[in-house]
């Protein structure tokens, strides 16, 4: 937006909304909305508590394991689906189904299969993240330009060389985009897993704070999570842009 001939960056409106929040909080309209300043204070306090630190560690660990699994499984499966027709036909239905299925309904089943601990949360993260990674990897591989593949063939490249030197590299931007969306979904998965499954990590803290109506800490925790999700996505996006040819492909 431009105001008085000057461009105002878009994200500055968040400052405006935080101000509105502060005022609403100060007016004590709702106990749910404490002033931002006290949320920040609670947040500074929160990060020093042992319970937050251990919850963060647990959450982070579940997230990293789940994501690693999603990438390790998702990328190869997507690549295979993109290259092998039969595999695509067999898995296509399920991948397309689960990418938009209400996985939150599946979590109760995961709990009784994988236990009430971290494993279930890891599996939840995996399930939230993996499908989009598969789909994007598949799309990337299928979009590898025919002419690049023919170019490789015409210069005598073996199938394997074409696969590694041309197809995979062509697919890299899509694969990364899939991972970025997968990361965001993974964050949602780790939270949903923790609050549905078992009272571990952030799930426990959320439950604790909301039961004791400790809104300052509740919001502080929420905002820390939101910020982490945004930072994560911005981080991958930055990495995507650093791949020199990205601009050329897009």
């Amino acid at each position: 937006m431009t105001l008085f001939g000057r461009r105002i960056p878009m994200m500055t409106s968040l400052i405006f909304w935080l101000l509105v929040w502060e005022i609403v909080g100060r007016l004590e309209v709702m106990f749910l909305i404490p002033p931002i300043t006290s949320i920040v204070a609670a947040g500074l306090n929160l990060v020093q508590t042992a319970s937050w630190q251990s919850a963060s560690l647990i959450t982070l660990r579940a997230f990293i394991y789940g994501m690693a699994l999603a990438i390790v499984v998702g990328v190869p499966l997507g690549v295979l689906m993109g290259r092998v027709r039969v595999i695509d036909n067999i898995f296509g239905l399920w991948v397309n189904m689960f990418v938009s299925a209400p996985l939150s309904a599946l979590v109760p089943i995961l709990m009784i299969l994988f236990g009430m601990g971290e494993t279930t949360v890891v599996v939840t993260v995996f399930l939230f993240a993996v499908w989009i990674i598969v789909l994007d990897a598949r799309a990337g591989v299928m979009q590898a330009p025919t002419s690049l593949i023919e170019m490789g063939r015409s210069y005598g490249a073996s199938r394997w060389t074409i696969f590694t030197k041309i197809i995979l590299l062509s697919a890299l931007p899509e694969i990364l985009a899939g991972i970025r969306i997968g990361l965001i979904r993974g964050v949602k998965g780790v939270v949903i897993g923790q609050i549905l499954v078992s009272i571990i990590g952030y799930g426990e803290l959320f439950e604790l704070y909301s039961r004791s109506f400790d809104m300052e800490r509740f919001w502080a925790l929420t905002m820390l999570l939101f910020a982490a999700a945004m930072l994560l996505s911005a981080g991958v996006e930055h990495f995507e842009k650093r791949i020199e040819y990205y601009a050329g492909v897009r």
């Binding site: 009430m116 078992s198 426990e204 604790l208």
Partner: protein
């Protein structure tokens, strides 16, 4: 091996005495590890699937259905619930005929009580909605989202405190049934008899101490550094809570008598299928550990 306990709730003031008892068992060399889970039913699943050794709750319906040999081995508390109505709408049990009520969850003790009361008073509800968490139901009552439900003792205190006279607590007569108990797989109980007895003894002695002096819980909290993140309001809540619940604490771990009461209560409420007479206590309880401990420390 550690003794893995699945607790179907987060740690609050109301479980301080149990936490203290776990600490004592630990002092005696039992490596108790507690996992706090979202709900009792999940805790029960954990025991069934072998992810936990001991669960906390009263999963009678599960015990009857599931193939795994799970047995209750001691009672921790009895149902201490208070049917409550908003006096703007209802005054007594008869008023609830054909009305909607809210209870904790399907098959829970709270539903059992309400069904039992309906039967005793010759009424039936139009529908039952499930609202887990006594404090949630308390809040819902205060906000007017629910007009008739059943709450726990701290909910009762909150209601009396925040809206004196607005709510009426309906008479229940004589109901005695387990609210929370400890249960485990029979294999576990026989293989770890010594540890289980240490745990039972630690709980019974703690219970007896608390019953004798409800204020001692605060000291226990300090001693074992329990609930380190508790807010001042929570701490202030400790004494009144235990003062109120002390008289009702089972000091002998329930045992056969409690089991019989439960079978009767839960068949009437519909959580258990069949006739109470035909159900055998041995299919639900394993009394050996409790009896061994009681023979050592005596009954009260």
């Amino acid at each position: 091996d550690p003794m893995r306990v699945a607790f179907g709730d987060i740690a609050t003031v109301e479980s301080l005495h149990l936490l203290a008892a776990f600490e004592r068992a630990r002092e005696k060399g039992v490596d108790v590890q507690v996992t706090f889970l979202k709900s009792e039913d999940i805790a029960a699943q954990a025991v069934v699937s072998g992810q936990a050794d001991i669960g906390v709750g009263a999963p009678y319906a599960l015990l009857q259905k599931v193939k795994a040999p799970i047995r209750i081995f001691m009672q921790l508390s009895k149902l201490q619930f208070y049917p409550v109505v908003n006096t703007e709408f209802y005054k007594n049990w008869k008023d609830l005929d054909g009305q909607e009520i809210a209870v904790h969850s399907r098959g829970s003790g709270t539903e059992a009580i309400m069904q039992l009361m309906a039967e005793k008073n010759g009424i039936s509800y139009s529908s039952i909605s499930y609202v887990p968490g006594a404090e949630v139901r308390t809040g819902a009552l205060l906000q007017g989202n629910v007009k008739a439900t059943i709450v726990d003792s701290s909910g009762k205190r909150v209601l009396e405190d925040k809206a004196p006279g607005k709510f009426a607590f309906l008479p229940m007569g004589d109901v005695s049934a387990t609210d929370e108990a400890l249960f485990a797989n029979t294999d576990y109980l026989s293989a770890n008899a010594k540890d289980v007895e240490i745990l039972v003894e630690a709980i019974l002695t703690t219970w007896r101490e608390v019953a004798a002096d409800p204020k001692s819980v605060t000291a226990l909290k300090e001693k074992y550094k329990l609930l380190p993140d508790a807010t001042p309001e929570m701490v202030a809540d400790i004494e009144p809570y235990f003062a109120e619940s002390a008289p009702n604490m089972p000091l002998n771990g329930g045992g056969g008598a409690a089991a019989k009461d439960d079978l009767e209560f839960y068949t009437v409420s519909g959580a258990l299928e069949g006739d109470a007479k035909d159900l055998k206590v041995e299919d639900f309880w394993d009394l050996s550990a409790l009896n061994n401990v009681l023979s050592r420390i005596g009954t009260k």
